[in-house]
C-alpha cells in the first residue's frame, strides 16, 4: 500500500517534470485518488489512427508495481487487440509479461506501439482481426480510420 503510493507519487512528479518530453502522451492523475489516472495518447502517424486523440483509463492496484495497472480505452477504437465495446486491451505486458520496472508512462508508450503494430492472431475485436488475417489491409484501415474520425477527432462544425 505505502510502497505503491510512494511509487505513484514519484511517477507523478516525473510526469510533471517531463511533460514536454513525450508530446504523444498526456498522463493526468485523478484529483482525489492517485490510483486512478487518465491518459490521452495521440494516434501514431502513418496508421489509420493518425490525427486522433484516444483516452485511456488506468486503474492502479494496491499491489502496484508488482501487479500491472488495468488499462482500457475510453475512446472507441477499431483495433484487433482492443475490445470494441469495453475498451479492454489485450497486451502481454499488461498481463503476464508485466514487470515492476515498467511505469504508467511506459505502459502508454507500449499501447501506442500496439496501435501501430496490431497483433491479429490474438484478437479481442474479431472483425478487425479477421480483416487483417484475411489480408484485407485496406478494409481494416478504412474501418479504423472511420472510427478514428468518428470517435477520436473533434467534431466538425
Amino acid at each position: 500500500m505505502q510502497a505503491s503510493r510512494a511509487r505513484l507519487f514519484k511517477e507523478y512528479k516525473e510526469v510533471q517534470r517531463e511533460k514536454a518530453v513525450d508530446p504523444e502522451i498526456q498522463l493526468i492523475c485523478d484529483d482525489s485518488n492517485i490510483f486512478k489516472w487518465t491518459a490521452l495518447i495521440k494516434g501514431p502517424s502513418e496508421t489509420p489512427y493518425e490525427g486522433g486523440v484516444f483516452q485511456l483509463a488506468l486503474v492502479v492496484p494496491e499491489q502496484y508495481p508488482l501487479q500491472p495497472p488495468q488499462v482500457r480505452f475510453l475512446t472507441k477504437i477499431f483495433h484487433p487487440n482492443v475490445h470494441f465495446k469495453s475498451g479492454e486491451i489485450c497486451l502481454d505486458i499488461l498481463k503476464t509479461a508485466w514487470s515492476p520496472a515498467w511505469t504508467l508512462q511506459s505502459v502508454c508508450r507500449a499501447i501506442i506501439a500496439l496501435m501501430a503494430h496490431p497483433e491479429p492472431d490474438s484478437p479481442l475485436n474479431c472483425d478487425s482481426g479477421n480483416l487483417l488475417r484475411s489480408g484485407d489491409i485496406r478494409g481494416y484501415q478504412s474501418m479504423a480510420r472511420m472510427y478514428t474520425r468518428l470517435a477520436a477527432m473533434p467534431k466538425k462544425g
Binding site: A6, R7, F9
Partner: protein
C-alpha cells in the same frame, strides 16, 4: 518565525522609503532603477521561497538573478569562495564568540553590525579577496545577522550550526555584490539590505542540509568538479562546527582541497584512479538503463522508490544488473520471482551479496566492469 514576520512587515516600507531617499539624494535615475529592480527581484524570490521552502534550484538561482551589474564579481566570488572561507575559518574563534554574544536577537543590533561591517568593507572594497581585515569584518557582521535565524530555528544543534555557517557564507557573497552595486558610498538603504539578508538566510537554509547529509562515499564517487567543491565546502562546515561527524569525512583528501587547493590541480578521480574509473565505466554505458547512475549518486529503488541503503547497494540479485532493495526483492520472490529488468526467473546461485561488510562499491564496481566487458 519572529524574524520572519518582522522582515515581512519591514521589507516594503523600508524599501519604498529608501528608494525615494535614494532618488532625492542623487538624481541618478539609472542606478536607482537598478537598485529598485534588484530589491524587487530579491523580494519576489524570497516571497516565493517562503511559499515553497526547500526548493534548491531557486536559492541557487537567486545569486545569478540578483546580481545584474555585478555578475562578473559574483562569479569571481564563487571562484574564490574557498579562499574566503579559509580566512573566515582562521577567525573561527572570534566568530564563535560573536555567535554566543549575539544570540539574543535584536534587529537594531543586526543592522548596526551590518552597517559597520559593510562600511568597513567600503574602505577596502574591490580588493576583498586580499585584505583579511575586510573579510573578517564581513564575517563577523554576517554571523550576527545569521544568529537571529539560528536562534529562531528549531532544528537540532548540528544542523543549525552548520546552516548558520552556510548562511554566513552566502550572506557575505551577497554583501560583496552590494558593495559593487552601491559603489558610490550610499549607505542609506542598509535596512532593506538587512531584510534581504535575513530573507536570504531563509533561502539558503534548505540548501545546507543536503550538503551535510550527503553520503560521503557517494560524494567521493562522483567525479565532477562541482560536487567536489560542494563536498569541500561541506567538509569545511564540519570543521568549523568543531564536530567530528563521522570520521570518514576527515579522512577524505578533498577536505584538504577545500582551502589550499587551487582549482587547476588534478581532481580526486585521479588519486583514486582504479575504483573510480571502473565505477565510471560502469555508470556511463556498460550497464543497462536501470543501473545508470546508481553508483555515482544516491538513487532510489526503481520499484518502491525508497532510497537504497548500503546493504542494498551491495546486493545484486540478477546478472542483468538490475538493482532493487531487499524488501522489493523479497516481495517479488514471493510473487512471481522474476527479475524486473530482464523478466528471467531469479536464480539464487547468481545472487551476489557482500556479506563481510567490506567496501561494497569497490567490489561491485569491479565485478560489474568485468562482467560487462565480455
Amino acid at each position: 518565525m519572529d524574524s520572519d514576520s518582522i522582515a515581512n512587515a519591514s521589507v516594503p516600507a523600508s524599501k519604498d522609503s529608501s528608494k525615494e531617499f535614494v532618488k532625492k539624494k542623487r538624481g541618478n535615475n539609472r542606478l536607482a532603477k537598478l537598485k529598485q529592480c534588484k530589491m524587487d527581484a530579491r523580494r519576489e524570490q524570497w516571497l516565493s521561497q517562503v511559499k515553497n521552502k526547500g526548493s534548491k534550484e531557486e536559492s541557487n538561482g537567486i545569486v545569478g538573478c540578483v546580481s545584474f551589474s555585478s555578475t562578473l564579481s559574483a562569479i569571481c566570488g564563487r571562484e574564490n569562495r574557498s579562499l574566503g572561507s579559509r580566512e573566515v575559518r582562521s577567525r573561527g574563534d572570534e566568530k564563535e564568540g560573536g555567535l554566543g554574544v549575539h544570540t539574543a536577537n535584536s534587529e537594531s543590533r543586526v543592522d548596526n553590525s551590518l552597517v559597520s561591517g559593510v562600511s568597513g568593507n567600503q574602505e577596502s572594497r574591490k580588493s576583498w579577496s586580499q585584505s583579511s581585515s575586510s573579510s573578517s569584518s564581513t564575517s563577523t557582521s554576517t554571523s550576527t545577522s545569521t544568529s537571529t535565524s539560528t536562534s529562531t530555528s528549531t532544528s537540532t544543534s548540528t544542523s543549525t550550526s552548520s546552516s548558520s555557517w552556510c548562511c554566513s557564507r552566502s550572506a557575505s557573497e551577497e554583501e560583496e555584490e552590494d558593495d559593487v552595486d552601491g559603489d558610490d558610498g550610499c549607505v542609506d538603504d542598509w535596512e532593506a539590505v538587512a531584510d534581504a539578508l535575513t530573507a536570504d538566510n531563509k533561502q539558503h537554509q534548505p540548501n545546507s542540509e543536503p550538503l551535510v547529509e550527503m553520503d560521503p562515499a557517494l560524494v567521493d564517487a562522483a567525479p565532477s568538479e562541482l560536487v567536489n567543491k560542494e563536498a569541500a565546502l561541506g567538509a569545511s562546515e564540519m570543521e568549523h562546527c568543531g564536530e567530528v561527524k563521522g570520521s570518514v569525512e576527515n579522512n577524505r583528501a578533498w577536505r584538504l582541497d577545500d582551502a589550499f587547493r587551487p582549482p587547476c590541480l588534478p581532481t580526486l578521480s585521479k588519486q583514486y584512479s582504479f575504483p573510480l574509473n571502473s565505477e565510471r565505466c560502469c555508470a556511463h554505458g556498460a550497464v543497462t538503463w536501470p543501473c545508470n547512475g546508481i553508483i555515482s549518486q544516491p538513487s532510489p529503488c526503481p520499484i518502491c522508490c525508497e532510497d537504497l541503503d548500503p546493504t542494498d547497494y551491495s546486493f545484486l540479485p540478477c546478472l542483468c544488473g538490475f538493482r532493487l532493495c531487499l524488501f522489493c526483492y523479497k516481495r517479488i520472490l514471493e510473487a512471481d520471482g522474476r527479475c524486473p529488468g530482464c523478466r528471467k526467473y531469479y536464480d539464487p546461485q547468481n545472487v551476489e551479496m557482500d556479506a563481510n561488510g567490506g567496501p561494497p562499491q569497490y567490489r561491485l564496481a569491479r565485478s560489474f566492469s568485468m562482467s560487462t566487458r565480455f
